[in-house]
């Protein structure tokens, strides 16, 4: 899933300072699971804004809503009237949701209330970590199902570097060395010989360095 993290309230405050009719719009999919942009977070943020404006003696009219998927155009029409009735939409979706809203409502200012952090998993309640970099050419078959592009701090394809100690990365004792994990897993799977081969130079053109990516499936297009 896509993991998000709410921006600092001060940054959000600054962003919305010029507006007095605000729609705080959440997304009930990924960012709701990471407790950053679901209905609950919408309600909390809306209360914070109200309180802040009240203390500053400023008027504000806030509407609260969350839709199933802000990244999907078919769900965006349901908030048409709410959008029409506000000056600005503070979106608590990921960057995809923010952009989908901006595309669907070209005359409206859409602001991001979250930082879209990464594609990852919930390790346990309150802890999320990155798993996939969306490089466009999956290599997990060669690395024991663990991705060095997303999880090695240097993205090395022929790791580990000389900074791997006790299973941890040189950048922090809180970061696992994914190459240690890859070696451990391939050893357990009796496939360590896979790492005798040098991993070839990667084609980054499919990972976004070849320009914005787009998929067109002729079999599905009208």
């Amino acid at each position: 899933m896509i993991v998000g993290q709410q921006k600092d309230f001060d940054e959000i405050k600054k962003m919305i300072s010029a507006y007095s009719r605000i729609l705080v719009l959440g997304c009930q999919t990924c960012v709701a699971i990471s407790f950053a942009g679901g209905m609950r977070e919408v309600e909390i943020l809306a209360s914070m804004i109200r309180m802040d404006r009240k203390m500053a003696g400023q008027d504000v009219e806030i509407k609260e809503e969350a839709i199933l998927r802000q990244c999907d155009f078919e769900f965006l029409d349901s908030v048409k009237d709410l959008v029409a009735g506000c000056d600005v939409v503070l979106s608590l979706a990921c960057g995809i949701g923010v952009q989908a809203m901006a595309e669907r409502y070209p005359d409206k200012v859409i602001l991001p209330g979250l930082n879209t952090t990464f594609m990852g998993v919930t390790e346990e309640m309150g802890i999320w970590s990155e798993r996939c970099a969306g490089c466009g050419d999956c290599i997990l078959d060669k690395t024991g199902g663990l991705c060095p592009i997303a999880r090695c701090s240097k993205g090395l394809l022929n790791g580990p570097c000389g900074g791997s100690v006790n299973g941890k990365c040189e950048i922090s004792p809180d970061v696992d060395c994914v190459w240690q994990l890859i070696i451990d897993r391939l050893k357990a799977l009796n496939q360590l010989e896979k790492l005798e081969e040098i991993f070839p130079i990667k084609d980054w053109s499919v990972s976004g360095h070849g320009g914005t990516r787009k998929i067109v499936r002729e079999d599905l297009t009208a």
């Binding site: 701090s153 240097k154 993205g155 090395l156 394809l157 022929n158 790791g159 580990p160 570097c161 000389g162 900074g163 791997s164 100690v165 006790n166 299973g167 040189e170 950048i171 060395c177 240690q180 070696i183 451990d184 790492l195 005798e196 040098i198 991993f199 070839p200 130079i201 990667k202 980054w204």
Partner: protein, 313 residues
């Protein structure tokens, strides 16, 4: 003998002589004097000097320019190159320039992560890794082709180096990684600094078991420790360095810490020289270059072999 680069270092190593290299860090500024002073100081004590490349991710004068200043003093440089700061285009173009400027030795490295340096918010490049850097330069040299397959005009005579760290984890895989670096194109290896000699000996046993000492010249890295503070810092803060407690204690108890540091370094060199498959020593006297001549002398590594100017390529 057919030479790959004709560098001093290559001639000395392929001639079976024990080699001495040292590290020479460029300045955080625009004066050539720092490099020139280090070059003059070390020139008759070392076969080649490594010029570091934004070491510890701190911006300094480029390795290539440092190498050129050394060349002008008739000191042979080893150009260090990290993949942290340049993509495949920049790497290949820097190599063309370096070769044109007479640089013959290149040490291929990943580079310390940018987080450690003075620009921790920088975007790391890592388009290719250090293993692939070796492959790239080997292809440029042996096939005279860029990564794209396009032809390179002119020769690319290079002696290719790589790093190896026997003290990082996982220990067993460190030998596999060395084998891969040799396969990728490494002609010589400069190891991480050795303080834990027994562990290094175990690693070298495994290296010889796979016959790797026959395929590559291994130069053992040493760091003369200047103070107990430095010993503690390296033990606590430098990933992949193994500094035994006993060494820290010796530094703490010493009346003259610098003298003790030199003594420890000489003891390590003495033990290293006895290990089969070690073809040289690489002295990394970080901000203590002045001590290198004394160490080389006391280690019985003087005089350095004279190398004929005749390039064997």
């Amino acid at each position: 003998m057919i030479m790959k680069s004709g560098s001093n270092l290559e001639k000395i190593l392929s001639g079976g002589q024990f080699s001495v290299t040292a590290e020479c860090g460029p300045p955080k500024g625009t004066s050539a004097k720092v490099i020139q002073r280090k070059g003059e100081l070390l020139k008759s004590y070392c076969d080649a000097l490594n010029v570091t490349d934004n070491q510890t991710a701190i911006v300094r004068m480029s390795s290539l320019s440092g190498c050129v200043f050394l060349k002008q003093l008739n000191v042979e440089p080893v150009m260090q190159m990290v993949v942290r700061d340049r993509n495949r285009l920049a790497i290949q173009s820097d190599i063309l320039g370096a070769v044109a400027l007479g640089i013959r030795n290149v040490l291929c490295l990943s580079g310390d992560h940018q987080k450690f340096g003075n620009h921790p918010t920088a975007k790391g490049v890592y388009d290719i890794d250090s293993m692939q850097l070796l492959q790239t330069l080997k292809q440029m040299r042996d096939e005279k082709k860029f990564l794209s397959g396009d032809d390179i005009s002119g020769e690319v005579p290079l002696f290719l180096g790589a790093a190896a760290n026997p003290f990082a984890d996982p220990f067993e895989f460190r030998v596999t990684r060395l084998a891969k670096k040799i396969k990728a194109g490494a002609d010589f290896i400069q190891t991480q600094a050795i303080f834990d000699v027994p562990k290094f000996i175990r690693w070298m046993d495994m290296v010889r078991e796979r016959g790797l000492d026959q395929k590559v010249h291994i130069l053992a890295g040493v760091i003369p420790v200047k103070s107990v503070g430095m010993a503690r810092y390296m033990r606590n803060n430098v990933s992949g360095l193994s500094v035994p407690e006993e060494l820290v204690d010796r530094m703490a108890d010493a009346k003259d810490a610098k003298e003790e540091g030199v003594k420890i370094c000489l003891e390590i060199i003495e033990q290293i020289k006895e290990i089969k498959g070690i073809h040289g020593v690489h002295i990394m006297a970080v901000v203590w270059e002045d001590i290198v001549p004394g160490i080389v002398e006391k280690a019985g590594l003087m005089p350095r072999p004279a190398v004929s100017d005749q390039a064997g390529i």
